[in-house]
């Protein structure tokens, strides 16, 4: 069933404004009104987040607004996930994130986690100062499509390389896509250490994750 776009305008507006309770209420109302979960995503969440991204690009929105919108979307996905599973939809891609060994900075990594969850990804956040063996254990534990590595210091960036090499040594490098980010990290550095992708901002990490999965 295709629902006219205007039926989801309250939901889109609530997400754009980062109003978490209003977003959840609008989503429940839409589902009770017969909107299918997939339509709620394609005609509610996706256009709303696209608008939020546009406002961010245009300098109207800043990181706090982005985070509130992502939070609203994440809460809607909490409702949608079991419904999508019931309907036999393919589970959402699973991303494992962490700040590499020796580094304690977590804000950038947290922003990426929030944006990915808002984008419909399932995220396992391993925290900060994560040694390679913990990343490896997380990938072995259950299916993971993408691993995200974060570092904020030039002195901790080499731990990204060490982590990627540890995946290779464990024989599971080819099972996953690896994306990297953090203030001192560049796309050139990402390429040098054998990562699959680099994102300059948390907002752009959602697109990067989607691109990486297309070539999985």
């Amino acid at each position: 069933m295709t629902i006219p776009m205007q039926d989801l305008s309250a939901l889109r507006q609530a997400v754009i404004e980062g109003d978490v309770p209003a977003s959840v209420t609008a989503a429940r109302a839409a589902l009770e009104g017969g909107v299918q979960p997939v339509d709620l995503i394609s005609q509610g969440i996706s256009p709303a987040m696209a608008e939020v991204g546009k406002l961010f690009e245009e300098g109207e929105y800043f990181v706090p607004e982005l985070l509130m919108a992502a939070r609203a979307t994440k809460e809607i996905f909490v409702i949608l996930r079991p419904l999508l599973a019931q309907a036999g939809s393919k589970p959402m891609a699973h991303v494992v994130l962490g700040t590499v060994q020796g580094d304690l900075h977590d804000i950038g990594k947290n922003l990426v986690a929030a944006m990915l969850e808002g984008g419909g990804f399932e995220v396992t956040d391993l925290g900060v100062d994560v040694p390679p063996e913990i990343f490896i254990a997380a990938v072995k534990k259950r299916p993971v499509q993408i691993v995200g590595l974060s570092a904020l210091l030039t002195t901790t960036m080499p731990a990204m390389k060490a982590t990627i090499e540890a995946f290779r040594a464990a024989g599971i490098r080819e099972q996953i896509k690896i994306m990297v980010g953090g203030a001192p990290v560049t796309s050139k550095y990402a390429e040098t250490i054998g990562a699959d992708g680099y994102s300059e901002t948390a907002a752009a990490s959602v697109d990067l994750a989607r691109r990486l999965l297309e070539v999985c």
Binding site: E17, G18, G59, F62, V63, P64, E65, L67, M68, A70, R71, K74, G102, D103, L104, H105, D106, I107, N110, L111, A113, A114, L153, T154, T155, T156
Partner: protein
């Protein structure tokens, strides 16, 4: 209060080359200006968040401010020798353009401040519960407070200025041509551990919201010609550029 945190201004016995060393177990921060905090959150100088967002931010700020434990330590040294690319304090040589930047100072204070680990734990707890927004605001409060603690510590350092002297700008490892590796040299020159600041092998400080650095005591006329350290930095789009 533990014995080692009692405020002392004394000839330092552990670091004898220092003219004076002080441990400040409590620093009084200047009041937080919301527009300054908005800049830490990425808002441009000329723009502020819309009222509903400003109110959401203010609520988190009020909670976060209760967790700040600002404190610091410093030691003042005569400059033993210098080149354009190095500065020798006591027997310790610090490499980098710092020799040039502090060329007018005949004494240099080495300092560290922190606002404690509590604010980072609060931010971490918020992030773990999925409240990344609050985590971000708490982190920004911690960053603002660390700078405010450094400002507060400078009031103590100022007491050692002679007539017609002024403090230079502050310089920290990892900025302004001073490699972050120089951090370990700074830690040899002051008692940062006495206020709970530790240096990790990656040169990162623990607690996270800490600042270490150098500040010169120099003739007023030389200092008045100093520019902002931001003039030396290529990140022209930085939201906290001065």
């Amino acid at each position: 209060m533990p014995e080692e945190l009692s405020s002392t201004v004394a000839q330092n016995t552990l670091i004898p080359a220092a003219l004076v060393a002080e441990i400040c177990p409590e620093l009084a921060l200047a009041p937080l200006d919301p527009t300054e905090l908005h800049r830490y959150l990425g808002y441009p100088r000329e723009g502020s968040p819309a009222p509903p967002m400003a109110e959401r931010i203010a609520q988190v700020v009020a909670e976060a401010q209760l967790c700040l434990r600002p404190r610091g330590a410093y030691a003042v040294y005569p400059v033993s020798s210098r080149t354009a690319h190095s500065l020798k304090l006591g027997d310790t040589t610090i490499s980098g353009n710092i020799g040039e930047y502090l060329k007018d100072a005949d004494r240099v204070a080495v300092f560290a401040v922190t606002v404690g680990q509590e604010i980072s734990l609060l931010s971490e707890t918020a992030a773990k519960s999925g409240d990344t927004f609050s985590a971000l605001v708490m982190d920004a409060v911690g960053s603002w407070a660390a700078e405010a603690a450094a400002d507060a510590l400078m009031l103590s350092v100022r007491r050692h200025l002679r007539d017609e002297e002024e403090l230079t700008l502050r310089y920290s490892p990892g900025y302004c041509g001073m490699e972050i590796s120089q951090q370990s040299r700074l830690f040899q020159l002051m008692q940062a551990e006495a206020v709970g600041v530790r240096l990790m092998p990656s040169m990162l400080m623990h607690p996270l919201k800490s600042i270490s650095g150098l500040v010169g005591l120099a003739p007023k006329e030389a200092v008045s010609s100093y520019h902002s350290p931001c003039d030396l930095c290529p990140r022209t789009g930085c939201p906290i550029r001065r």
